[in-house]
């Protein structure tokens, strides 16, 4: 095994990209992602990393450059956050539709206005439908591990899709914590070299992502949909291989103390750890509360969710994003939709909290569970509630 190091999570993500032998990084710095690309720039400048570093003039250009480098068969990495991810938006669809296995770390951040650089998942939810595989991390170790896994998943010739690794801005990116680093030869064994099946090559010209009139466009989109759905099984296979190689096992829905739970809490990302502490406290007080943590956001793990929910009576989903005028937080409304066809399904309560860098404490998670159960008992028809907001 490798070494356990105290390191800032952003730097660990950059080190993962280095250990993955990335060929090209095209990026534009933005808080709270900056430390990732800054560290990569240092590694390239000092010669510790043999890669091309393209400092683009915007995120739109950064992602455009990533398309080109991935298409010629170069292993390509970038990182962004919040407004930067929004500026990339239109190019994100091109990456997935052209089947280019770009890997991107996203330091999840709130969206303007008012200007707010803090942790939030509004950026994550805004790119939900871009056709990328999306994986959400809970701590620094996961951010490191999933960056490595992302290349293996993305570049698998049965997948060939771009992957976003979501890591909560500040809550994870700016924290120094212990992370197990594997040895380089272990990473090399896990991650074979990138071989794009039909790279751009002047000697063998190909056309990519050209033009589709109405008679073709639907078929192209259907192919994309079939492809990303089918990727789930392959993602699980690669996570299983990762588990065998490194001893850390990952699942689309992580379960914590869910056995026999009548009440389940569900979180996405770094709040999972605080929620675990709240669950421990409630369990010690004899309350049958468990926790589900949604790791695989796209492709959505329908079967795994239904199984994990089991016979729970109340499911409380905590979102860090809003769908203005919509049916509650994005994760809440998707979970509710995924469980609608289940014959015996729990009552589902949605809370929105932790916006723009506001903490949710252990006590507040306990408060949410209490309030959620009360709402269900009172037969509340309310779709969702914004938690802890001053009015």
């Amino acid at each position: 095994m490798g070494e356990r190091i105290g390191i800032e999570v952003s730097l660990a993500i950059a080190e993962a990209a280095k250990m993955a032998n990335v060929d090209v990084i095209a990026a534009y710095p933005i808080t709270p992602q900056t430390h990732i690309v800054e560290h990569l720039a240092e590694l390239v400048a000092s010669g510790e990393m043999d890669a091309e570093y393209i400092l683009a003039e915007s995120e739109h250009s950064a992602m455009s450059a990533c398309l080109g480098s991935s298409a010629v068969g170069a292993r390509t990495f970038t990182a962004t956050a919040g407004q930067g991810l929004e500026l990339m938006h239109e190019v994100l669809y091109v990456a997935s539709a052209m089947r280019l296995p770009v890997v991107m770390a996203v330091a999840n951040r709130a969206l303007s206005s008012p200007l707010n650089v803090w942790g939030d998942q509004s950026d994550l939810m805004a790119v939900r439908d871009t056709g990328w595989i999306q994986i959400i991390c809970e701590n620094g170790q996961e951010a490191f591990d999933h960056t490595l896994c992302a290349f293996r998943i993305a570049e698998d010739q049965r997948v060939l899709l771009p992957v976003m690794i979501h890591t909560d801005g500040f809550y994870l990116t700016h924290v120094v914590e212990p992370i197990e680093f594997p040895k380089q030869d272990e990473v090399d064994r896990f991650l074979p070299p990138y071989q794009y099946p039909l790279p751009l090559d002047p000697d063998k010209p190909v056309t990519m992502g050209a033009f589709a009139p109405p008679i073709l466009y639907s078929e192209a989109k259907k192919a994309q949909e079939v492809n990303i759905r089918a990727s789930k099984k392959i993602i699980l296979d690669h996570w299983a291989e990762f588990g065998k190689a490194f001893g850390r096992h990952y699942h689309p829905i992580e379960q914590y103390r869910t056995e026999g739970s009548k009440t389940l809490l569900m979180t996405l990302g770094s709040f999972g750890e605080t929620a675990m502490t709240a669950v421990d406290k409630m369990r010690n007080e004899g309350k049958d509360v468990g926790l589900l943590k949604l790791r695989l956001w796209r492709p959505f793990p329908f079967e795994e969710l239904r199984q994990a929910v089991g016979n729970a009576e109340v499911l409380i989903v905590v979102d860090r994003a809003l769908s203005f005028g919509g049916p509650g937080g994005p994760a809440y409304s998707e979970v509710r939709s995924a469980l609608y066809s289940k014959k015996k399904r729990p009552r589902i309560v949605g809370f929105i909290g932790g916006l723009g860098g506001r903490d949710i404490t252990v006590a507040e998670f306990e408060g949410m569970v209490k309030r959620g159960v009360e709402m269900v008992k009172a037969g509340s028809e309310q779709e969702f509630e914004m938690f802890g907001v001053r009015e």
């Binding site: 105290g6 800032e8 808080t31 809550y171 120094v176 212990p178 770094s270 675990m276 404490t361 252990v362």
Partner: protein, 190 residues
């Protein structure tokens, strides 16, 4: 004089932007992690400005992984790098009763207690003087690590040397000397 606290220890650092409070918090966490402990270090999140009051945090636990991701509201220890902050920021906010207050100041116990009460275990050091003597600059972040360890044996003083060496390169030795000197000179009121 050291307190070997088992379980979770929560520390809040007060400094001004550019004084290295965040760096100190990180060095301490790295030392603890190198000892096989669990630790987090993080700044108060958001943009920072040079000279403005800033805070940074450490959570250190010798036994269990740390599973809280939120700012520390009720610290066990507060460390103040800059004496001019004492009347700008309420540095004792949320500090637990019988918690530890480590201050860079030329004042004595009586003078500090007059302003801050005696609910805390107080440790004082003239870190600015030490920093001027050893580093030639009034940058006291590493010096205050020495002061902290005098009152809380949360890591071994030697465990700081590797992270300091990695962080500071050719000026690491001076910083290590500042840590040692502060460890000697810090006075603790029980």
């Amino acid at each position: 004089m050291t307190v070997n606290k088992i379980g979770l220890l929560e520390i809040r650092w007060h400094g001004r932007g550019g004084q290295g409070a965040v760096t100190s918090a990180e060095l301490l966490a790295q030392a603890a992690i190198d000892e096989g402990k669990y630790a987090q270090a993080f700044p108060a999140f958001g943009p920072e400005r040079r000279g403005a009051p800033v805070v940074a945090f450490d959570r250190i636990d010798s036994q269990s992984p740390i599973r809280v991701r939120a700012e520390i509201r009720e610290p066990d220890v507060v460390i103040v790098l800059d004496p001019t902050l004492l009347h700008v920021v309420r540095v004792t906010a949320g500090l637990k009763n019988n918690g530890i207050l480590v201050i860079n100041s030329r004042k004595n116990f009586e003078e500090i207690e007059k302003d801050f009460g005696s609910n805390w275990k107080l440790a004082l050091v003239d870190a600015t003087k030490i920093a001027y003597e050893i580093l030639g600059l009034p940058i006291v972040n590493t010096t205050m690590l020495g002061a902290l360890l005098k009152v809380v044996g949360v890591v071994k003083i030697e465990s700081l040397f590797k992270p300091i060496n990695e962080r500071f390169g050719h000026i690491a030795e001076k910083n290590i000397n500042a840590v040692k000197k502060a460890f000697e000179e810090t006075v603790v009121k029980e």
